[in-house]
Amino acid sequence: MGNTSLNSTTIHHNVILDIIYRMKIKEVMTKNALIISPDASIAEAKLMMKTNGVSGLPVVKNRKLSGIISIYDIVECLENGSVNDPVSRHMTRNIIVLEEDMPVSFGLSYFEKYRFRRFPVLNKAKELSGIITSRDINAALLNEINLELQRIDKLENTEETDSVEGKYFKQFSTRKYDFENAGKTSITIKKFLKEIGIPQDIIRRVSIAVYELEINQVVHSNGGTIQLFIEGEEIRIKAVDTGPGIAELENALTEGYSTASEWIRTQGFGAGMGLPNIKKVSDDFQISSDLIKGTEVIIKIFSGKKNETN
């Protein structure tokens, strides 16, 4: 705790992560992007790019995106003497798109992964709602980091440990949409339980519960904490998030019910089995949720006991 420079580095790192998970593509993208029709000529596309100082245009017909024409495609047409061809003949059809509700972290990883200079952004109706370049992201991030640094007044630890004679306490925090680190808390807890000699089947049940609690906080809340208490045979997990709470608790406890969005499902989450799974592996399960304050789940697993419901 004595090293201030190390602590401040940690803060800055967290701030940027928070921002890229919190901000959505639609807040960063250029709305009302210039578009061109697939029936326009290459020469028209060239003129439009030159006049507006852009190096690529989404090709759109009836609000649906059919491709992208870039300055490289145009240079090729100039070389081949095919500038009077329609755009549709030379555009890139196999395009990668982003969705406007995705966090900015997705945008960053797409630029890293695909090496394109721009991505079209689609809305829920799969219509073009904007276009995003890495420059858009940089500008928005710088702006947001400045605001955030002004707001910072406290330091957050991701893990705290305390133990006295057979009693253990650990605390972890989770962050909204931080899929990169989802699973870390449960893996750390699993390894710790193994170290202190908890039986294999108990570890498995605790791991399942902690994993689901952790994913729930990452997917559905604005972040929260997960605490592990061990006292004798009682293993108690307390998961508290900062909201928003669960509107229909009854439904959330039903297998298969999920409010997760489409892109969360593409990550393998949102099966609607989280809370039911947790309940199934626990010896005691309590949940309370307030739409504003958030959700609190407390479960107990007794290390000497077999799980009857499983």
Binding site: F179, G183, Q200, R204, I208, A271, N277
Partner: protein
């Protein structure tokens, strides 16, 4: 069946080697991580198209020793790195989950 034998007999491409002498007793096929978490057995192989780092986290927690990524889906670098750190075998094939499930079932169960 030992992991190394399973790799050799199936001929799937090895992305991360895992532990050669790990015993594979069971298999599970699924893409929803919560479902895999709740229903897979330990000492098992997971057959999936979920080529994502989170799959490694689930495998680690559930005691899954090998993962077969089907349909030739691209394995991201961070997934490969996590698999290496956790000592989980990561295999890749162009075959689909149905075919792979049948092939592995025949090896470990039949």
């Amino acid at each position: 069946m030992k992991l190394i034998d399973l790799i050799q007999k199936t001929g799937y491409q090895t992305v991360s080697a895992g532990k050669d002498d790990a015993e594979i007793k069971e298999g599970y096929t699924g893409d929803l991580l919560s479902d895999v978490m709740a229903n897979s057995s330990s000492d098992s192989v997971l057959i999936t198209i979920q080529a994502h780092k989170n799959t490694i986290a689930v495998a680690t927690l559930a005691g899954i020793k090998a993962i077969v990524i089907c349909n030739g889906r691209t394995v991201p670098d961070d997934m490969k790195q996590s698999a290496e750190v956790e000592g989980i075998a990561l295999l890749s094939t162009k075959k689909d989950q149905f075919t792979v499930s049948a092939e592995i079932f025949n090896l470990i169960k039949a």
